[in-house]
Amino acid sequence: MSVVLPGDTIDDIDSPIGSTLGPGLRLLGDRVVASKAGQLCSNGNPSVHWIASSERRYQPTTGDRVVGIIVGRTAEYVRVDLGGGPESAILSLLAFEGASKRNKPALNIGDVVYSRLLQASRDMEPELVCIDSHGKSGGLGKLSNEGFLFRVNIDYCRRLLTSNDITMKQLSRVAPPFEIVIGCNGRIWLRSAQIRTTVQLYNAINSAQFTKSFEELKEVLNRIFH
């Protein structure tokens, strides 16, 4: 696997105008240049390209679905910490399904909330919403306090969220029923019926990060769950 270094011109992208440049790539004139060190990845059609690099601090990007922790509350909105810096994001209390001025969701400091970044410009505070453009929640919203929240590498989360990732599929075959929410900011929320299962899942997700083949993944998961 070849690695690109910051400053390298990327020639593999056929039409830089039509495709989307993700994290780590930028357009300099008519050249696509890498701004991070890592492997060049592409996905989908129309093509999306990005650099997979080791990253621990999340950079808010528009459209990402993230898991945040509420750190402050006013009458109109709550402040959510996404793990990136430096400011916390704003989540309006009206941006929930079925919310109105009289009927606002009951959110307290310390609650975990799964939301989507509506606006993440570098010059302003990031803005979150928990509904889509039709007004439906689609799974977004407050996550139950019975879950378990932990951090992993941001790059690993992105990998888990790609459509052809085998880890989640294999986990759902081997593990007892569980509920999982993966945020693009490197946070994963887990819930299952028993604490023992949650611990097993936590170990499994952390170990699966370093397996290199499907057989190795199967062996690791079998050892954890049996």
Binding site: M1, P6, G7, G24, S35, S53, S54, R56, R57
Partner: protein
């Protein structure tokens, strides 16, 4: 090396740089960290950022970079402060600070063992830690130290040890960017003729190209281990 590409297994260019060893993510609480061994000299670097900064240090259009470097010298003088400023200026050319306005990036550098060529070890370690942190960079910066001996017919020493530095009339530290190999930083002590400086520039550029190939190899190896 006509087209500027360097083969990592090329025996001739092996002699240009000392034995390099680097490890990423050595510090658990930082956003990026690296330990860098350059011959016998070793440095540790940790990066925090982009984070919140005080209003007084905040800049509206870019990130404020703060370097804290501990050179492990017995006396602390203005020279250490000046070297910190040099490292900071080098970091500012590398990092695309406009991507992170109103934030601060804190870099902590610690010398573990100093056996000469310490400024170049610091800058190379900083480059590796920045690679690990995933901050936006316009290019990598590689640093080379040359020792210019007193006798004009003796060859220039690349990466001199502490003993060799004492025998040199001048020590030149040069930093190159990884795209065009232009000079980013030049720090010299002592006196030297222009001819000797030009020789040092040419030799450092070759060593710099080798160093970029080594950095790429290190990053590739660590990516293979992780994915």
């Amino acid at each position: 090396m006509d087209n500027g590409e360097v083969d990592i297994n090329d025996e001739v260019s092996e002699t240009l740089v000392p034995h390099i060893c680097c490890e990423f993510q050595v510090l658990s609480k930082t956003d990026g960290s690296a330990s860098f061994f350059q011959g016998s000299t070793s440095v540790l670097c940790g990066i925090h950022g982009p984070t919140e900064v005080k209003q007084s240090k905040q800049q509206n259009d870019k990130s404020a970079i703060e370097i804290s470097a501990n050179f492990n010298t017995v006396t602390h003088s203005c020279r250490e402060k000046m070297l910190q400023e040099i490292i900071k200026n080098t970091a500012e050319t590398m990092i695309i600070t406009h991507t992170y306005p109103r934030t601060g990036i804190t870099v902590s550098l610690q010398a573990l063992h100093n056996d000469g060529s310490s400024l170049s070890a610091f800058i190379n370690c900083l480059t590796m830690a920045l690679i690990d942190s995933g901050l936006s960079m316009s290019f990598l910066v590689v640093a080379v130290t040359c020792g210019i001996p007193r006798e004009p017919d003796k060859p220039i020493i690349l990466y001199p040890s502490l003993e060799e530095e004492k025998l040199c009339v001048s020590v030149v530290t040069l930093c190159f960017d990884s795209v065009n190999y232009d000079v980013v930083t030049s720090y010299t002590t002592g006196t030297f003729s222009i001819l000797r400086y030009e020789q040092a520039l040419l030799q450092s550029e070759s060593a710099g190209r080798r160093l970029v190939a080594i950095f790429e190899f290190i990053k590739r190896r660590s990516s293979d281990n992780c994915s």
